[in-house]
């Protein structure tokens, strides 16, 4: 019998940590009301149980997913963990519980509320990452490419392969403002590192001239007789515009930081032997 306890789990925010919550839920035969992050303010009076991350337990859960639910289910769970879906942790737990009961056919249960929620959240994630493959705008600073984005979901892991295959000989950095993380690449290795803040310095003359050329192209390519701002907005929501070169010069305040700082960030992030 499943113990419907008035209990919440508190985990460390890592994927392994979440898998340990799954382990705990089976071990103690209980279903938490929610799974929360360490810095979440507690808004209810229910007690929160601290779940310690134990890589052995996490591994046991991790290996069981592809064998019991199939590799696609693992992909879904991994991607769901990157989404901005509220209570994603709880939904992942419920999904896995459902999956251990039904096996691989859980992936077909699209009308189930839990599965439906996760599938929609993952769709939101992959849509956003697809859009950003196009909407990311690099500035060239000290021969390195630098871009800033503010996505809702944590898309950097999904952008890594695309941009590494596209610019294998360049050094680049994509800064995710929402999650304070950055994708950093130099030939031929990439990594995702936490970054607190990043100011892109004033463009030099060459950079400025290419921005102007792009803006000119953007304004000219429109057929005025077919002006349709609604259509544009539905394809390219306004929240992306802020970081796109074509929408005018966004006068960036030059901070006392040195221009070379971006190069240093790339170097620091990459220099210790890192995961690719």
């Amino acid at each position: 019998m499943l113990n419907q306890s008035n209990l919440m789990y508190r985990y460390d925010g890592s994927f392994d940590g979440l898998l340990c919550c799954v382990f705990e839920s089976y071990d103690k035969k209980e279903l938490p009301l929610d799974i929360i992050l360490p810095d979440t303010l507690q808004t209810t009076l229910f007690p929160a149980k601290e779940i310690r991350t134990d890589s052995q337990k996490a591994n046991r859960v991790l290996t069981s997913i592809p064998t019991k639910l199939g590799p696609q289910a693992l992909d879904l769970v991994r991607h769901a963990f990157l989404t901005c879906c509220t209570q994603k942790e709880l939904y992942i737990l419920l999904f896995l519980r459902l999956g251990y009961r039904h096996g691989p056919s859980v992936m077909n249960m699209l009308t189930n509320d839990v599965v439906n929620t996760l599938v929609k959240a993952v769709k939101h994630l992959s849509n956003e990452s697809h859009l950003l493959k196009g909407f990311v705008r690099f500035s060239i600073v000290n021969k390195a490419l630098v871009a800033e984005i503010a996505p809702k979901n944590f898309v950097l892991p999904l952008l890594t392969q695309h941009f590494c295959e596209r610019y294998p000989e360049e050094r680049f950095l994509i800064y995710d403002k929402t999650h304070s993380m950055a994708l950093v690449y130099q030939p031929y290795q990439s990594t995702i590192v936490p970054i607190d803040a990043l100011e892109i310095p004033e463009p030099d003359a060459e950079e400025e001239s290419f921005r102007k050329l792009w803006q000119l192209f953007y304004d000219t390519i429109e057929v005025e007789g077919r002006h349709n701002p609604q259509c544009r907005m539905s394809h390219m929501p306004k929240r992306y515009w802020k970081y796109m070169t074509e929408f005018g010069p966004s006068p960036k305040k030059s901070l006392p930081r040195l221009e070379s700082s971006i190069t240093t960030i790339i170097h620091k992030a990459i220099s210790p032997p890192s995961i690719n």
């Binding site: 039904h102 056919s105 077909n108 249960m109 699209l110 009308t111 439906n116 697809h130 859009l131 493959k133 196009g134 909407f135 990311v136 705008r137 690099f138 500035s139 060239i140 490419l145 871009a147 695309h162 295959e165 596209r166 610019y167 294998p168 000989e169 360049e170 290419f210 102007k212 050329l213 792009w214 000119l216 192209f217 953007y218 000219t220 390519i221 429109e222 057929v223 005025e224 007789g225 077919r226 002006h227 349709n228 701002p229 609604q230 259509c231 544009r232 539905s234 394809h235 390219m236 796109m244 070169t245 074509e246």
Partner: protein, 445 residues
């Protein structure tokens, strides 16, 4: 003249070309090079008119030896002229590409001196990009009608997609408006490219490293509303092009009046955007939904219904096909229901493996029940409280805007007359369609 002026003039001259897709080929950068392509295509921005910007779409030159009446770049038009040098254009492309502004290059051109000379200039640009910069990004090149096939072959080995624009959907229209082009000069390069792609696919089986010829296939475009060709003719031509020439896409472009000419619509004519929209809807039905052209239109009904989309129109005329049991119908039948698209049909197939679907479930799968409810049953049941009445179906199948226009045009219809929508829906629109045709067409040619 600096690069800014050239870019402005040559973008302005290229913008009436519709195709801006970067789809159909998957590849990544070669060692030491730059650039990749994704089969799904990637839009990098959207212009103020809502069209996707994926490629740097410019002309090599807008100097042109031809005098096509519908074209802004025609010889007799008084417009500033400019030309890129191959080096300039290649450098601009790479610099835009590095900053992730674009997915690649769309290169077209006016006819400078003669078609062969123009093509040589275009080959030069592509050569610099591919060989010097090691550029693997997307390149769409235009085949200029009348070019020597040896040059087209060279172009095809460098580009990912090629296109020859048909522009006008019939030989008589061509003769009238584009006296320098003929049906033959357009179809010859198209046929040549098709054959080379076919040869290439057999070569690829024999030799693993056979150079790829136009790997993303070829496309074309037609101008809608500059000539009196009907939707039926255009759609049949489109179907023929997909079948015979194995085209990847046929694009339609509503005619924007750019010239004062007695042969063309008046310059204050609005582009027939709704017609273009209906043609694209029908084009999708041909390519993905298993419809054929003569199911959608026929000799008696040569124009699309302005109020109802082609799929809805087909369904209303084939009520014997419905209602359909959603839990049993095969995929190809599901696609025929208004309100069910490719994605939701696939989801239905997946979801009904583990459960019996009901209306609540269908909603979760993304089916537009507002439209679909009249045509489906879930295990023999219809939705609670559904009344299949004329008015309800109209509200469901017509957008709010077209419903408004419909009521404007037919305010005091008798109930019995309104029911005629079911028997022959195109009777009603015929009146309006005629008006629209007259608006967008000229005096008889």
């Amino acid at each position: 003249m600096d690069v800014f002026d050239k870019l402005k003039i040559l973008t302005d001259a290229a913008k009436y070309d519709v195709a801006c897709t970067s789809s159909g080929v998957d590849k990544k950068a070669v060692v030491g090079g730059i650039g990749s392509a994704a089969a799904s295509g990637i839009c990098h921005s959207f212009a103020g008119d809502g069209r996707c910007i994926s490629l740097l779409k410019v002309l090599m030159t807008n100097v042109c030896a031809y005098d096509c009446q519908y074209c802004v770049n025609r010889k007799s038009n008084d417009t500033p002229r400019a030309s890129f040098t191959p080096r300039e254009l290649a450098d601009l492309t790479i610099n835009f590409y590095r900053r992730n502004y674009i997915e690649g290059l769309f290169l077209s051109s006016g006819v400078l001196k003669n078609p062969d000379y123009t093509s040589e200039q275009m080959i030069e640009v592509l050569h610099i990009l591919r060989k010097e910069y090691g550029f693997s990004g997307y390149i769409h090149a235009k085949a200029i009608p009348g070019t020597d096939s040896a040059l087209i072959a060279q172009l095809g080995l460098l580009a990912d997609r090629m296109s020859v624009n048909i522009e006008l959907p019939s030989q008589s229209s061509l003769q009238l408006l584009a006296p320098d082009k003929s049906k033959h000069s357009i179809l010859a390069p198209m046929g040549y490219i098709k054959n080379r792609i076919q040869e290439n696919s057999t070569d690829m089986i024999k030799y693993r490293h056979a150079p790829k010829f136009v790997p993303a296939g070829q496309s074309t475009q037609m101008i809608i509303g500059a000539t009196p060709d009907t939707d039926f003719q255009i759609l049949n031509l489109t179907e023929g092009l997909y079948r015979k020439y194995k085209l990847k896409r046929v694009f339609f472009s509503a005619y924007m009046p750019v010239a004062e000419n007695t042969l063309l619509p008046m310059t204050d004519t609005k582009p027939p955007l709704w017609r273009e929209h209906r043609l694209y809807q029908a084009d999708w039905l041909l390519r993905f939904y298993g419809f054929s052209a003569n199911e959608l239109l026929d000799q008696e009904h040569q124009s699309f219904n302005p109020y109802v989309d082609p799929k809805g129109n087909w369904a209303l005329n084939h009520m014997e096909f419905f209602p359909m049991n959603i839990n049993r119908a095969p995929y190809s039948d599901l696609l025929r229901v208004p309100g069910i698209g490719i994605n939701s049909a696939k989801r239905i197939i997946t979801a009904r493996r583990t459960t019996t679907l009901n209306f609540d479930g269908l909603k979760k799968l993304g089916v537009v029940l507002k439209r679909a409810q009249f045509f489906i049953t879930c295990g023999g049941k219809v939705p609670n409280g559904l009344k299949i009445t004329q008015d309800a179906m109209m509200r469901a199948l017509l957008s709010e805007k077209s419903l408004g226009i419909y009521h404007q045009h037919f305010p005091h219809q008798q109930e019995s007359e309104q029911l005629s929508l079911f028997q022959s829906p195109s009777i009603i629109p015929a009146k309006l369609a005629l008006e629209d045709m007259q608006k967008c067409l000229t005096s008889p040619i």
